[in-house]
């Protein structure tokens, strides 16, 4: 069994919980250990119950684990909620008087400092460092970098907490890995992948869970040389991105289901005028406002069919943070190669979780569309065998006409039945070219080996991989990276095998898709729709149940 060390810190919003989780992950990186960090928080700014879990191992770890070696409860509620999940030899640290375990004056001490609420997260990190036996000097240097704001106060407060923990516990020294690690959150991986492919403009209206992409680009706009804008609403977001693409700018937008509803008319516009725009759709729990800060995979069908009319479209969903990075770049390339809108479908669990990854910007290709060479008068929608018409951008000696009405090759409006037919056929040929191209690409990931096939998509892949490793399950996991067009040519080989889907929705949308497109008979589905990601030990148990 995998030797995983899990740390949990819980408290109210405003106590620096998520930051402490991130810093704890970096502390494991300093020890050259892999880690996976997940946050759970309600949709509010003060109060409620927040927690972060960091699971760490000398081998790659793809999920958090529920049972913890160290729990730091900054309030009574956190103590009550997480008490059942302390491992037998684990350490429970509470704010003095808020429960049983090692009581530390976390709140009382914090009152000595200016940022007295936010600083409490620092206590959680100091406890972990002391318990892991990280030498104090090394820890303090680490802390200065991790919390640059108010460094002196943090240092003094951390010193007290570190000292008390060290005096009252015997350290649990964990084994160290062999190479330095870098923890990256899903949203940043998506942003960096698109940037590596040559992104020029990012437009977004803030919405969980993709707000992190907007913040990443905003804070790195100068160094990456990108234009970043927060317009008045998602209608403006999508239409501005189309306007930017018209000038040759590689453009991306990010949103969640509700925002994407508003973008649908522009999505169809992009299909008609053949505008290359990449839409990041981060799923959260719906319908409607739903559970805005919780995860779900219920927008698969929504992502496959938005917008009126028939036009080529791409939908792909990353199964890991490395893949979020490479796929964001690949999708930006694809939408430019085929001049059509695409959706990078992800979910809260990937967008806002971080893990130790190796990302290589040198392996992401730079967008390289088919350009007008200037030998004949320009026609925006020139009929070509593969349906792809060369692009030209203003300023130009040529007249370039993009048109939301059905159009002649030169871009003028038409209502002629023969031209209606031929333009539909042009877009159909483009779709066929897209499928031919995808046949040469990696479109499906598989893991493990066994008679039974488990199908999943998106970040649930991470949970299933961890469950398979945890319980040494003899199954084959198949994850279609592309969901539209679905790589039927890769999936047909599994027809006739005993197959289950594992999904974070209540209706089994992937099972329905595989049945409709591949003719697969799915034996059953493991579905979770409580807004929380699968936990690997529980999931392993559920898989074993269905395998029986």
């Amino acid at each position: 069994m995998k030797d995983v060390f899990t740390y949990l810190i819980g408290g109210k919003a405003g106590q620096g919980i998520m930051k402490a989780g991130e810093v704890a992950g970096n502390l494991f990186s300093m020890l050259k250990r892999y880690s996976f960090q997940v946050n759970e928080y309600p949709s509010l700014i003060r109060g409620g119950h927040n927690f972060a879990i960091v699971s760490s191992c000398v081998k790659p770890v793809f999920s958090f684990y529920r049972d913890a070696d160290v729990i730091v409860a900054l309030d009574r509620r956190s103590y009550e909620i997480h008490k059942p999940h302390l491992k037998p030899r684990g350490l429970m640290v509470v704010n003095e008087g808020d429960g049983e375990g090692l009581g530390l004056p976390i709140v009382a001490e914090s009152r000595k400092y200016q940022r007295s609420d936010l600083i409490q997260g620092v206590a959680g990190v100091a406890v972990l460092a002391a318990f892991l036996g990280v030498p104090e000097q090394r820890f303090q240097e680490f802390l200065k970098e991790a919390y640059p704001k108010g460094a002196e106060e943090n240092q003094a407060y951390a010193q007290t907490m570190y000292g008390l923990t060290k005096a009252k516990t015997s350290p649990r020294v964990v084994s160290q890995g062999s190479k330095p690690m870098r923890n990256i959150v899903g949203n940043d991986a998506i942003a960096m992948g698109a940037a590596a492919a040559g992104l020029d403009c990012y437009f977004s209206y803030p919405m969980t869970p993709t707000t992190g992409i907007l913040h990443f680009f905003a804070s790195n706009a100068d160094v990456l040389r990108l234009a970043v804008m927060q317009p008045e609403n998602e209608l403006a977001v999508a239409n501005m991105a189309i306007g930017a693409a018209f000038t040759g700018a590689r453009s991306m937008v990010g949103t969640s289901g509700g925002g994407f509803c508003l973008m649908e008319e522009a999505f169809s516009l992009a299909g008609m005028i053949e505008a290359p725009v990449l839409f990041v759709l981060g799923q959260r729990r719906g319908p409607s406002t739903g559970g805005p800060t919780y995860t779900e995979q219920a927008d698969l069908f929504f992502a496959l069919t938005p917008g009126q009319g028939e036009f080529p479209r791409l939908v792909a969903s990353p199964g890991s943070i490395e893949e979020a990075f490479s796929l964001a770049g690949a999708m930006l390339n694809l939408v430019w190669r085929f001049q059509t809108p695409g959706i990078l479908l992800t979910e809260k669990h990937l967008a806002e979780s971080s893990m130790s990854v190796d990302l290589d910007p040198d392996h992401v290709p730079w967008v390289n569309p088919v350009l007008y060479a200037g030998s004949e008068p320009y026609e925006r929608y020139r009929q070509t065998p593969d349906g792809i018409s060369p692009l030209a951008f203003p300023p130009s000696s040529q007249v370039i006409k993009w048109n939301s009405y059905e159009h002649k090759p030169n871009g003028w409006t038409t209502e002629d039945p023969a031209e209606f037919t031929s333009m539909h056929e042009k877009r159909r040929r483009k779709q066929e070219s897209l499928v031919s191209f995808l046949r040469t690409q990696k479109t499906v990931n598989t893991y493990g080996d066994g008679e039974t096939v488990l199908f999943t998509f998106g970040s649930t892949t991470l949970s299933v991989r961890e469950a398979m490793e945890y319980s040494d399950l003899k199954v084959q996991l198949v994850q279609p990276i592309f969901l539209g067009p679905l790589p039927v040519w890769e999936l047909e080989q599994y027809r006739g095998r005993r197959a289950f889907t594992i999904e974070q929705n209540s209706t089994g949308q992937l099972a329905m898709l595989l049945h409709d497109k591949v003719g697969m008979q799915i034996t059953g589905s493991i579905l979770k729709y409580d807004g929380r990601p699968f936990e690997p030990t529980e999931l392993a148990h559920q898989i074993q149940e269905v395998l029986r």
Binding site: T247, S251, P395
Partner: protein
């Protein structure tokens, strides 16, 4: 190089429509702009959906024929990505003041550097004459046969209030005057809007009324307050530039004098910056 500005596409506006006045004013304005150093090659026009939008097919200029109400958003995306371009968005009153009012107001608020030309005919002509945001109370159309019960918006007052840096009213019946307004609006650095009184000969034929009421303003108002007062005048209809002021433009406030498309980061530089972010 001056191109022929007509396309030869079949014109489907009703004979005598005010839209012809706007089309002809554009054909006069483009060569004048060229003389001022604004080339046709870098001039881009955007249209929404409505009778006004057909101007996309009739002007031999680079264009994006967008969807109802979103023209100003598309135009702002263009300008943000390549500030070297001169962008004119055409819209109808239903388009710019109804379906897409938020884009119009925010473009003015942030002083995005493009020109919005509103073909304001006070009716939804392409959908057979329903009332629009600028229709008068009592205006009869197929969706309110007894007459509109909503008072009209005053678009100029609204745009002056949110900080538009160039606000004008033109008249489709005064083509030379409108052409000169177009030239000034495109030359203006920042958001410029021309609300064009545009009679719809079939659904709202106001030529006679406008011919009697329009009066050219000698010069812009000295203050926003004065411009707002002028925009509320109904005894006659002032046309011309109501207000003009120099204000910092949005894209320059956002990222300075840079051009995202023309001065795009090289692949080598991008990779170098990213490598620093992903290395342990």
């Amino acid at each position: 190089m001056t191109r022929d500005l007509g396309t030869g596409a079949e014109n489907t506006w009703c004979p005598g429509c005010g839209n012809f006045g706007i089309l002809n004013a554009m054909k006069k304005a483009v060569p004048l702009l060229e003389k001022q150093g604004i080339s046709q090659e870098g001039l881009v026009i955007v249209g929404g959906i409505g009778c006004h939008g057909k101007i996309m097919d009739y002007l031999n200029l680079t264009s994006l024929y967008a969807i109802h109400g979103r023209g100003s958003a598309v135009a702002q995306g263009m300008k943000l990505a390549n500030p070297e371009l001169s962008v004119i968005a055409f819209g109808g009153d239903g388009d710019a003041y109804g379906e897409g009012l938020e884009h119009t107001l925010f473009a003015a608020k942030r002083n995005s550097d493009f020109t919005l030309v509103v073909h304001d005919n006070g009716t939804y002509a392409l959908t057979t004459g329903q009332f629009s945001p600028t229709s008068a109370v009592g205006f009869k159309g197929p969706s309110l046969p007894k007459g509109s019960v909503e008072p009209p918006l005053n678009p100029l007052v609204l745009l002056l209030e949110v900080g538009a840096s160039f606000v004008a009213r033109g008249y489709a019946g005064h083509i030379d005057h409108l052409a000169s307004l177009l030239v000034r609006a495109v030359q203006h650095k920042g958001f410029s809007v021309i609300d064009v009184l545009q009679p719809s000969v079939v659904f709202n034929n106001s030529f006679k009324e406008y011919n009697a009421l329009v009066r050219e303003l000698p010069s812009p108002a000295a203050s926003v307050e004065e411009a707002i007062r002028l925009a509320k005048v109904t005894e006659y209809l002032p046309i011309g530039v109501f207000y003009e002021v120099n204000q910092p433009v949005f894209h320059e406030r956002l990222y300075g004098s840079w051009n995202p498309v023309v001065q795009r980061a090289s692949q080598i530089d991008r990779r170098k910056s990213l490598r620093k972010m992903v290395t342990p």
